[in-house]
Assembly symmetry: C3
Homo-oligomer: 121 residues x 3
Protein backbone atom coordinates (compact mmCIF):
# COMPACT_ATOMS: atom_id res chain seq x y z
CA UNK A 1 0.00 0.00 0.00
CA UNK A 2 2.74 2.55 0.10
CA UNK A 3 1.59 5.48 -2.03
CA UNK A 4 4.19 7.98 -3.20
CA UNK A 5 3.09 11.35 -4.56
CA UNK A 6 5.83 13.38 -6.27
CA UNK A 7 5.40 17.01 -7.27
CA UNK A 8 8.03 19.17 -8.92
CA UNK A 9 8.14 22.57 -10.54
CA UNK A 10 8.87 22.70 -14.24
CA UNK A 11 11.76 25.13 -13.80
CA UNK A 12 13.85 22.15 -12.63
CA UNK A 13 14.73 21.49 -16.24
CA UNK A 14 16.45 18.23 -16.91
CA UNK A 15 14.77 16.31 -14.13
CA UNK A 16 14.35 12.73 -15.35
CA UNK A 17 10.92 11.62 -14.18
CA UNK A 18 11.31 7.92 -14.87
CA UNK A 19 14.72 7.70 -13.23
CA UNK A 20 13.49 9.63 -10.20
CA UNK A 21 10.47 7.37 -9.72
CA UNK A 22 12.55 4.24 -10.21
CA UNK A 23 15.13 5.27 -7.63
CA UNK A 24 12.57 6.50 -5.09
CA UNK A 25 10.59 3.29 -5.45
CA UNK A 26 13.78 1.29 -4.99
CA UNK A 27 14.24 2.86 -1.56
CA UNK A 28 10.72 1.96 -0.49
CA UNK A 29 10.66 -1.51 -2.08
CA UNK A 30 13.89 -2.51 -0.35
CA UNK A 31 12.76 -1.48 3.12
CA UNK A 32 12.25 -4.47 5.45
CA UNK A 33 8.77 -3.26 6.38
CA UNK A 34 7.56 -3.47 2.76
CA UNK A 35 6.92 -7.14 1.97
CA UNK A 36 5.65 -6.82 -1.62
CA UNK A 37 7.34 -4.48 -4.09
CA UNK A 38 4.21 -4.41 -6.27
CA UNK A 39 2.38 -2.52 -3.53
CA UNK A 40 4.54 0.59 -4.03
CA UNK A 41 2.65 3.00 -6.24
CA UNK A 42 4.37 6.22 -7.31
CA UNK A 43 2.94 9.06 -9.38
CA UNK A 44 4.67 12.23 -10.47
CA UNK A 45 3.15 15.62 -11.33
CA UNK A 46 5.05 18.38 -13.12
CA UNK A 47 3.71 21.74 -11.98
CA UNK A 48 3.79 24.55 -14.49
CA UNK A 49 5.16 27.78 -13.06
CA UNK A 50 1.81 29.49 -13.66
CA UNK A 51 0.23 27.07 -11.21
CA UNK A 52 2.76 27.54 -8.43
CA UNK A 53 3.44 30.42 -6.06
CA UNK A 54 6.29 30.21 -3.55
CA UNK A 55 6.30 32.64 -0.65
CA UNK A 56 5.75 36.29 -1.50
CA UNK A 57 8.69 36.71 -3.89
CA UNK A 58 8.11 33.70 -6.11
CA UNK A 59 10.58 34.33 -8.93
CA UNK A 60 13.48 31.93 -9.36
CA UNK A 61 12.21 29.42 -6.87
CA UNK A 62 11.28 25.79 -7.33
CA UNK A 63 10.68 22.67 -5.32
CA UNK A 64 10.31 18.93 -5.26
CA UNK A 65 7.91 17.61 -2.67
CA UNK A 66 7.22 14.00 -1.80
CA UNK A 67 4.38 12.61 0.22
CA UNK A 68 4.72 8.98 1.23
CA UNK A 69 1.57 7.42 2.64
CA UNK A 70 2.01 4.24 4.63
CA UNK A 71 -0.25 1.97 6.56
CA UNK A 72 -0.05 3.00 10.21
CA UNK A 73 1.93 0.75 12.52
CA UNK A 74 5.52 1.31 11.47
CA UNK A 75 7.89 2.77 14.05
CA UNK A 76 9.09 6.35 13.82
CA UNK A 77 12.56 4.92 13.21
CA UNK A 78 11.38 2.89 10.22
CA UNK A 79 9.60 5.90 8.75
CA UNK A 80 12.61 8.10 9.36
CA UNK A 81 14.82 5.59 7.52
CA UNK A 82 12.54 5.74 4.51
CA UNK A 83 12.37 9.53 4.64
CA UNK A 84 16.17 9.75 4.82
CA UNK A 85 16.54 7.33 1.92
CA UNK A 86 14.11 9.29 -0.23
CA UNK A 87 15.85 12.56 0.66
CA UNK A 88 19.18 11.10 -0.41
CA UNK A 89 17.72 10.24 -3.81
CA UNK A 90 16.41 13.78 -4.18
CA UNK A 91 19.84 15.21 -3.33
CA UNK A 92 21.41 12.95 -5.92
CA UNK A 93 18.95 13.35 -8.80
CA UNK A 94 17.24 16.75 -8.60
CA UNK A 95 18.93 19.27 -10.88
CA UNK A 96 19.95 22.65 -9.51
CA UNK A 97 19.48 25.25 -12.23
CA UNK A 98 21.72 28.31 -11.94
CA UNK A 99 20.07 31.05 -9.89
CA UNK A 100 17.09 28.99 -8.71
CA UNK A 101 16.45 28.35 -5.03
CA UNK A 102 15.34 24.71 -4.94
CA UNK A 103 13.50 23.33 -1.92
CA UNK A 104 13.32 19.60 -1.27
CA UNK A 105 10.87 18.04 1.17
CA UNK A 106 9.55 14.64 2.21
CA UNK A 107 6.37 14.13 4.23
CA UNK A 108 5.61 10.66 5.61
CA UNK A 109 1.96 10.14 6.58
CA UNK A 110 0.09 7.26 8.17
CA UNK A 111 -3.12 5.81 6.79
CA UNK A 112 -5.75 4.23 9.03
CA UNK A 113 -5.50 0.45 8.95
CA UNK A 114 -8.99 -0.17 10.34
CA UNK A 115 -10.77 1.40 7.39
CA UNK A 116 -8.30 0.87 4.53
CA UNK A 117 -9.35 -1.44 1.73
CA UNK A 118 -7.01 -3.17 -0.68
CA UNK A 119 -7.76 -5.73 -3.34
CA UNK A 120 -6.54 -6.98 -6.69
CA UNK A 121 -8.20 -7.89 -9.96
CA UNK B 1 -17.62 18.10 3.46
CA UNK B 2 -16.76 14.64 2.29
CA UNK B 3 -14.03 14.99 -0.32
CA UNK B 4 -13.36 12.05 -2.63
CA UNK B 5 -10.15 11.93 -4.65
CA UNK B 6 -10.05 9.25 -7.36
CA UNK B 7 -6.89 8.34 -9.24
CA UNK B 8 -6.62 5.67 -11.93
CA UNK B 9 -4.02 4.59 -14.42
CA UNK B 10 -4.83 5.06 -18.09
CA UNK B 11 -4.15 1.41 -18.92
CA UNK B 12 -7.55 0.59 -17.39
CA UNK B 13 -9.11 1.26 -20.75
CA UNK B 14 -12.85 1.46 -20.82
CA UNK B 15 -13.22 2.86 -17.32
CA UNK B 16 -16.25 5.17 -17.38
CA UNK B 17 -15.30 8.18 -15.28
CA UNK B 18 -18.77 9.69 -14.96
CA UNK B 19 -20.39 6.40 -14.03
CA UNK B 20 -17.68 5.65 -11.49
CA UNK B 21 -18.02 9.05 -9.81
CA UNK B 22 -21.81 8.82 -9.79
CA UNK B 23 -21.81 5.39 -8.17
CA UNK B 24 -19.11 6.21 -5.63
CA UNK B 25 -20.92 9.42 -4.67
CA UNK B 26 -24.16 7.46 -4.30
CA UNK B 27 -22.51 5.32 -1.61
CA UNK B 28 -21.37 8.36 0.33
CA UNK B 29 -24.54 10.43 -0.16
CA UNK B 30 -26.73 7.60 1.11
CA UNK B 31 -24.77 7.04 4.29
CA UNK B 32 -26.71 8.06 7.42
CA UNK B 33 -23.78 10.17 8.65
CA UNK B 34 -23.91 12.40 5.55
CA UNK B 35 -26.83 14.82 5.97
CA UNK B 36 -26.48 16.85 2.75
CA UNK B 37 -25.71 15.15 -0.55
CA UNK B 38 -24.43 18.43 -2.00
CA UNK B 39 -21.47 18.30 0.38
CA UNK B 40 -19.97 15.27 -1.37
CA UNK B 41 -17.30 16.48 -3.77
CA UNK B 42 -15.59 13.95 -6.03
CA UNK B 43 -12.76 14.55 -8.48
CA UNK B 44 -11.10 12.04 -10.77
CA UNK B 45 -7.59 12.09 -12.22
CA UNK B 46 -6.45 9.85 -15.06
CA UNK B 47 -2.74 9.14 -14.67
CA UNK B 48 -0.76 8.63 -17.84
CA UNK B 49 1.53 5.60 -17.68
CA UNK B 50 4.56 7.86 -18.07
CA UNK B 51 3.67 9.50 -14.77
CA UNK B 52 3.23 6.29 -12.79
CA UNK B 53 5.70 3.72 -11.52
CA UNK B 54 4.49 0.64 -9.67
CA UNK B 55 7.01 -1.33 -7.63
CA UNK B 56 10.25 -2.21 -9.35
CA UNK B 57 8.78 -4.15 -12.28
CA UNK B 58 6.17 -1.64 -13.41
CA UNK B 59 5.05 -3.13 -16.71
CA UNK B 60 1.48 -4.40 -17.02
CA UNK B 61 0.37 -2.98 -13.72
CA UNK B 62 -2.36 -0.47 -12.95
CA UNK B 63 -4.42 0.80 -10.05
CA UNK B 64 -7.42 2.72 -8.87
CA UNK B 65 -6.94 4.53 -5.59
CA UNK B 66 -9.55 6.42 -3.62
CA UNK B 67 -9.00 8.81 -0.78
CA UNK B 68 -12.11 9.80 1.14
CA UNK B 69 -11.65 12.72 3.52
CA UNK B 70 -14.29 13.11 6.21
CA UNK B 71 -14.80 15.43 9.12
CA UNK B 72 -13.47 13.67 12.22
CA UNK B 73 -16.03 12.27 14.63
CA UNK B 74 -17.50 9.32 12.77
CA UNK B 75 -17.04 5.88 14.32
CA UNK B 76 -14.63 3.37 12.85
CA UNK B 77 -17.67 1.27 12.00
CA UNK B 78 -19.27 4.08 9.99
CA UNK B 79 -16.04 4.71 8.12
CA UNK B 80 -15.58 1.00 7.46
CA UNK B 81 -19.09 0.83 6.02
CA UNK B 82 -18.27 3.61 3.60
CA UNK B 83 -14.94 2.04 2.68
CA UNK B 84 -16.63 -1.30 2.04
CA UNK B 85 -19.32 0.34 -0.07
CA UNK B 86 -16.76 2.19 -2.17
CA UNK B 87 -14.70 -0.99 -2.59
CA UNK B 88 -17.79 -2.83 -3.84
CA UNK B 89 -18.31 -0.15 -6.50
CA UNK B 90 -14.68 -0.50 -7.59
CA UNK B 91 -15.04 -4.29 -7.87
CA UNK B 92 -18.16 -3.80 -9.97
CA UNK B 93 -17.01 -1.01 -12.31
CA UNK B 94 -13.23 -1.14 -12.74
CA UNK B 95 -12.28 -2.96 -15.94
CA UNK B 96 -9.70 -5.73 -15.81
CA UNK B 97 -7.66 -5.63 -19.01
CA UNK B 98 -6.12 -8.96 -20.05
CA UNK B 99 -2.66 -9.40 -18.55
CA UNK B 100 -2.74 -6.35 -16.29
CA UNK B 101 -2.40 -6.66 -12.52
CA UNK B 102 -4.94 -4.15 -11.19
CA UNK B 103 -4.73 -2.93 -7.61
CA UNK B 104 -7.73 -1.34 -5.91
CA UNK B 105 -7.47 0.66 -2.69
CA UNK B 106 -9.55 2.94 -0.49
CA UNK B 107 -8.09 5.22 2.18
CA UNK B 108 -10.46 6.96 4.61
CA UNK B 109 -8.93 9.97 6.38
CA UNK B 110 -10.21 12.32 9.06
CA UNK B 111 -10.05 16.10 8.80
CA UNK B 112 -9.74 18.31 11.87
CA UNK B 113 -13.11 19.80 12.81
CA UNK B 114 -11.69 22.58 14.99
CA UNK B 115 -9.90 24.30 12.12
CA UNK B 116 -12.02 23.35 9.10
CA UNK B 117 -13.89 26.11 7.33
CA UNK B 118 -16.89 25.62 5.09
CA UNK B 119 -19.12 28.20 3.49
CA UNK B 120 -21.30 28.77 0.45
CA UNK B 121 -21.75 31.59 -2.05
CA UNK C 1 7.19 23.96 5.04
CA UNK C 2 3.63 25.13 4.76
CA UNK C 3 2.15 23.47 1.68
CA UNK C 4 -1.02 24.92 0.21
CA UNK C 5 -3.06 22.88 -2.29
CA UNK C 6 -5.79 24.80 -4.09
CA UNK C 7 -8.46 23.13 -6.22
CA UNK C 8 -11.27 24.89 -8.04
CA UNK C 9 -13.87 23.94 -10.59
CA UNK C 10 -13.63 25.56 -14.00
CA UNK C 11 -17.19 26.84 -13.89
CA UNK C 12 -15.97 29.60 -11.54
CA UNK C 13 -15.13 31.66 -14.59
CA UNK C 14 -13.11 34.75 -13.96
CA UNK C 15 -11.18 33.37 -11.01
CA UNK C 16 -7.72 34.93 -11.11
CA UNK C 17 -5.31 32.15 -10.20
CA UNK C 18 -2.23 34.31 -9.63
CA UNK C 19 -4.08 36.85 -7.50
CA UNK C 20 -5.69 34.10 -5.45
CA UNK C 21 -2.37 32.37 -4.77
CA UNK C 22 -0.66 35.68 -3.94
CA UNK C 23 -3.34 36.68 -1.45
CA UNK C 24 -3.59 33.24 0.16
CA UNK C 25 0.18 33.07 0.52
CA UNK C 26 0.18 36.56 2.06
CA UNK C 27 -2.06 35.27 4.86
CA UNK C 28 0.25 32.37 5.60
CA UNK C 29 3.53 34.29 5.17
CA UNK C 30 2.40 36.99 7.59
CA UNK C 31 1.42 34.59 10.36
CA UNK C 32 3.75 34.83 13.39
CA UNK C 33 4.27 31.04 13.37
CA UNK C 34 5.77 31.13 9.86
CA UNK C 35 9.35 32.40 10.14
CA UNK C 36 10.42 32.21 6.48
CA UNK C 37 8.08 33.32 3.70
CA UNK C 38 10.02 31.25 1.15
CA UNK C 39 8.79 28.08 2.85
CA UNK C 40 5.20 28.68 1.76
CA UNK C 41 4.54 26.64 -1.35
CA UNK C 42 1.17 27.00 -3.09
CA UNK C 43 -0.10 25.11 -6.13
CA UNK C 44 -3.42 25.51 -7.87
CA UNK C 45 -5.36 22.97 -9.94
CA UNK C 46 -8.27 23.89 -12.19
CA UNK C 47 -10.66 20.96 -12.36
CA UNK C 48 -12.58 20.48 -15.58
CA UNK C 49 -16.27 19.82 -15.03
CA UNK C 50 -15.93 16.40 -16.63
CA UNK C 51 -13.57 15.42 -13.82
CA UNK C 52 -15.78 16.59 -10.97
CA UNK C 53 -19.02 15.21 -9.52
CA UNK C 54 -20.76 17.04 -6.67
CA UNK C 55 -23.39 15.15 -4.70
CA UNK C 56 -26.02 13.33 -6.72
CA UNK C 57 -27.38 16.31 -8.64
CA UNK C 58 -24.11 17.77 -9.88
CA UNK C 59 -25.33 20.41 -12.34
CA UNK C 60 -24.68 24.05 -11.55
CA UNK C 61 -22.40 23.36 -8.64
CA UNK C 62 -18.80 24.32 -8.09
CA UNK C 63 -16.25 24.60 -5.33
CA UNK C 64 -12.93 25.91 -4.18
CA UNK C 65 -11.12 23.70 -1.70
CA UNK C 66 -7.89 24.46 0.12
CA UNK C 67 -5.71 22.09 2.01
CA UNK C 68 -3.01 23.68 4.13
CA UNK C 69 -0.39 21.28 5.46
CA UNK C 70 1.67 22.50 8.38
CA UNK C 71 4.34 21.02 10.57
CA UNK C 72 2.65 19.70 13.70
CA UNK C 73 3.10 21.73 16.87
CA UNK C 74 1.03 24.86 16.26
CA UNK C 75 -1.90 25.49 18.58
CA UNK C 76 -5.47 25.01 17.43
CA UNK C 77 -5.88 28.77 17.82
CA UNK C 78 -2.97 29.50 15.47
CA UNK C 79 -4.33 27.07 12.90
CA UNK C 80 -7.83 28.52 13.24
CA UNK C 81 -6.44 32.01 12.62
CA UNK C 82 -4.84 30.84 9.41
CA UNK C 83 -7.98 29.00 8.33
CA UNK C 84 -10.09 32.10 9.01
CA UNK C 85 -7.67 34.29 7.10
CA UNK C 86 -7.69 31.96 4.10
CA UNK C 87 -11.49 31.75 4.19
CA UNK C 88 -11.71 35.55 4.15
CA UNK C 89 -9.57 35.63 1.00
CA UNK C 90 -11.84 33.07 -0.64
CA UNK C 91 -14.94 35.12 0.23
CA UNK C 92 -13.28 38.19 -1.26
CA UNK C 93 -11.83 36.71 -4.46
CA UNK C 94 -13.88 33.71 -5.58
CA UNK C 95 -16.41 34.70 -8.25
CA UNK C 96 -20.04 33.70 -7.86
CA UNK C 97 -21.48 32.93 -11.28
CA UNK C 98 -25.25 33.41 -11.61
CA UNK C 99 -27.11 30.22 -10.78
CA UNK C 100 -24.12 28.25 -9.50
CA UNK C 101 -23.98 26.94 -5.93
CA UNK C 102 -20.37 27.56 -4.89
CA UNK C 103 -18.90 25.75 -1.92
CA UNK C 104 -15.79 27.04 -0.19
CA UNK C 105 -13.72 24.96 2.22
CA UNK C 106 -10.40 25.02 4.04
CA UNK C 107 -8.76 21.97 5.62
CA UNK C 108 -5.73 22.45 7.87
CA UNK C 109 -3.67 19.30 8.39
CA UNK C 110 -0.62 18.53 10.49
CA UNK C 111 2.49 16.82 9.14
CA UNK C 112 4.69 14.63 11.33
CA UNK C 113 7.78 16.53 12.45
CA UNK C 114 9.77 13.42 13.43
CA UNK C 115 9.91 12.05 9.90
CA UNK C 116 9.69 15.19 7.75
CA UNK C 117 12.70 16.11 5.67
CA UNK C 118 13.47 19.54 4.30
CA UNK C 119 16.52 20.79 2.50
CA UNK C 120 17.63 23.32 -0.08
CA UNK C 121 19.87 23.24 -3.12
Amino acid sequence: MPHLHIEYTENLTGLNERELMRELNAVICSHPTVPDEADVKARIARLSMGNVYIGNQPDNRGFVHLQLQLMAGRSTEAKKEMSDGLAAVLRRLVPHPEGVMVQLSVDVADMDKATYFKGRL
